[in-house]
């Protein structure tokens, strides 16, 4: 009786481990494949059979990528919008959330109604476009930053975090004569690392990955983001018309496919670099959001 239970458990465990292992592989292998393809000679990759390591190792793909001012510019625009968008977004979101985290704040019911309503209803893309156009934000770098500085979702996460900070911390600062600004910058922000890190990760990744605003609101070639350029080159080769078009025939063996995977690696690597450091925070952060949001 006991023995058969143990045998059953063994079968059960084996099935679970095998399934999880397969899931893990399907999550991991695509990233690995893109990486090796970016180090393989483009024309060689088209022949197929490159599965585990580069067959025809080359750095040519990265050289072509870095020699192309279009890609370099797009990379810089993406870095700039990610850094400035995240910093400004963090600043505005936490300032507003700090105010709203005071339970005795007058009119807080009104304020919260305004926020929750904005969370569930929106005007849709077309009216939004008209508003951005009237504000003169179209076709400017600011369109990447300003409209995305405050999101109701992050606001609610930050409020519930600030409310967990002991009130005594603020009170003693008040007694010492500190104003709200001093308290906010010198006391609240430094103890709020977990929530700031969580929001920074989400805002940063959102900014870094964003291509829709570049497609909708920007025409200038100068302002295209890395994700947008990638979308262009993927979409072009995905369309049945020119699936084998060589991106840059002047350089040896570089195809539109090898350029694609290279740009994908360039766009994934920064995320993978910050991810382990912020991971321990965001699991807690998303939980805050899911419980209170």
């Amino acid at each position: 009786m006991l023995k058969s239970q143990r045998q059953k458990d063994f079968v059960f465990d084996s099935v679970i481990y095998v399934v999880l292992f397969i899931i893990m592989l399907t999550m991991l292998y695509p990233f690995y494949y893109v990486l090796i393809a970016s180090f393989n000679k483009g024309s060689d990759s088209l022949l197929g059979g490159v599965y585990l390591w580069p067959r025809n190792f080359t750095l040519e793909n990265y050289r072509v990528f870095m020699d192309d001012p279009k890609w370099v510019k797009a990379f810089l625009v993406s870095v700039l919008r990610t850094v400035s968008g995240t910093l400004l977004g963090l600043l505005l979101t936490s300032i507003v959330a700090y105010g709203l985290s005071h339970r005795d704040l007058l009119f807080s019911k009104v304020y919260f109604t305004v926020i929750v309503f904005a969370m569930y209803f929106s005007g849709g893309l077309i009216p939004y476009y008209v508003v951005l156009r009237s504000l003169g934000l179209l076709n400017s770098f600011a369109v990447y930053i300003i409209p995305s500085m405050l999101s109701t979702f992050f606001l609610l996460i930050a409020i519930s975090f600030f409310r967990e900070i002991p009130a005594e911390l603020k009170e003693s600062a008040h007694i010492d004569g500190a104003g709200e600004l001093t308290i906010f910058f010198r006391i609240i922000l430094p103890v709020s690392t977990p929530v700031l890190a969580t929001m920074a990760l989400f805002m940063g990744v959102g900014q870094w990955n964003s291509w829709l605003d570049s497609a909708y609101f920007v025409q200038s070639e100068e302002l295209r983001t890395l994700a947008f350029r990638m979308m262009e080159v993927i979409n072009k080769s995905n369309s049945p018309m020119d699936s084998l078009a060589v991106a840059n025939s002047a350089s040896a063996g570089v195809t539109s496919f090898s350029l694609q995977v290279t740009s994908m690696v360039v766009s994934i690597v920064p995320i993978i670099c910050v991810y382990p450091f912020l991971q321990k925070y965001f699991v807690h952060g998303i939980m805050l959001g899911s419980v209170k949001g």
Binding site: F12, M27, S122, I126, V131, H174, A227, P240
Partner: protein, 327 residues
């Protein structure tokens, strides 16, 4: 606030109004902080809501914001036009099928993954699988589509090369350029991208279940499957309902299980268009590309009204059926 130096004697002074004013003045910096946010929402969230009016008007972009109010009313003309559009049937079908398939496949996947992870006793392996599984959530749809291309395209795709090398097929399968494969492709990539992410919430729900319940069940002779069925699943019920309500509410947008728009726009092409064109991509094309603002706003509006109705009704049903709900 608490820092009142002189005790206030109730009943004296200018009454409630001046008391409120005093409190407001004391909080003025805080109201300034919050005020920034309110102004922001007014501009970027509430002004566009008034823009919905343009769906009922003959709006021209040259009118700017003022034009929303000054242009001529046309009533339901644009709604009528959309319903009689020759593509209407296809668009509605594609939107609904894609959304439904995502709920059916992408909603249970993280629940299953969470249950399986919970049964793993090697903490290092568990943590590793978890970390890997939510990585795709942070990768953009553009990259996910690029990965699909690298794996599935007829000429460079790894899958086709492997299938042909193993003799399963003579001709490469047109995964990316055939209407037959689009729904599977969209649902599959949505599951791949978001499964691990939603697992976080379900694992949190499981961690709230008291271990003594499992011990008691084990003493009573319940096997592993029985424990999952009678303890783990009931313990997750509240969370499952909330996530389901959220999923159904955002079903048309694809919301929780991956953006329908980005998928349909990026994976769509002229050949798989019969299954890949959805209401949102169509609204985008006629709106921003063709400049038919009022028509696109009308299509947008229909969609958001349905979404709001869905979230309220699914919330109501969830409250009735299980007692848990979102709000």
């Amino acid at each position: 606030m608490e820092l009142e130096t002189q005790p206030k004697s109730p009943g004296t002074g200018g009454g409630r109004r001046s008391f409120l004013w005093k409190r407001f003045k004391k909080q003025k910096v805080l109201h300034l902080f919050v005020g920034l946010g309110m102004i922001y929402l007014l501009i970027f969230a509430y002004t566009p809501m008034f823009g919905i009016l343009m769906a009922f008007k003959d709006y021209s972009i040259s009118g700017g914001i003022k034009g929303i109010f000054t242009s001529d009313w046309v009533g339901l003309r644009y709604f009528d036009e959309f319903v009689h559009d020759y593509q209407f049937g296809k668009l509605v079908r594609n939107t609904l099928v894609l959304s439904l398939l995502k709920v059916i496949f992408a909603f249970p996947a993280p629940i299953l993954l969470a249950i399986m992870l919970n049964e793993v006793k090697h903490m290092a392996f568990k943590r590793f699988v978890q970390t890997i599984s939510y990585l795709p959530h942070f990768i953009s749809w553009v990259v996910v589509v690029g990965v699909s291309y690298a794996f599935l395209s007829a000429d460079v795709g790894v899958v086709n090369k492997a299938l042909m090398a193993m003799g399963f097929t003579d001709e490469p399968l047109a995964f990316l350029t055939s209407p037959n494969y689009f729904w599977g492709l969209a649902v599959g990539s949505a599951v791949w991208k978001e499964m691990g992410w939603w697992t976080i919430i379900f694992l949190a729900a499981i961690s709230g279940i008291s271990p003594s319940l499992y011990e008691a069940a084990e003493i009573d002779g319940a096997g592993r499957l029985a424990r999952i069925r009678y303890i783990t699943l009931p313990g997750m019920k509240g969370t499952i309902v909330v996530v389901l309500v959220l999923t159904i509410g955002s079903i048309l947008g694809g919301g929780l299980v991956g953006s329908n728009f980005e998928q349909a726009y990026l994976l769509g092409n002229s050949i798989n268009n019969p299954t890949s064109e959805i209401v949102q991509t169509y609204a985008f094309r006629v709106g921003l590309s063709d400049g038919r603002f009022s028509y696109a706003a009308a299509i947008d509006l229909i969609q958001s009204v349905i979404s709001v109705a869905l979230i309220f009704s699914s919330n109501y049903i969830a409250k009735r059926v299980s007692g848990s709900s979102l709000f």
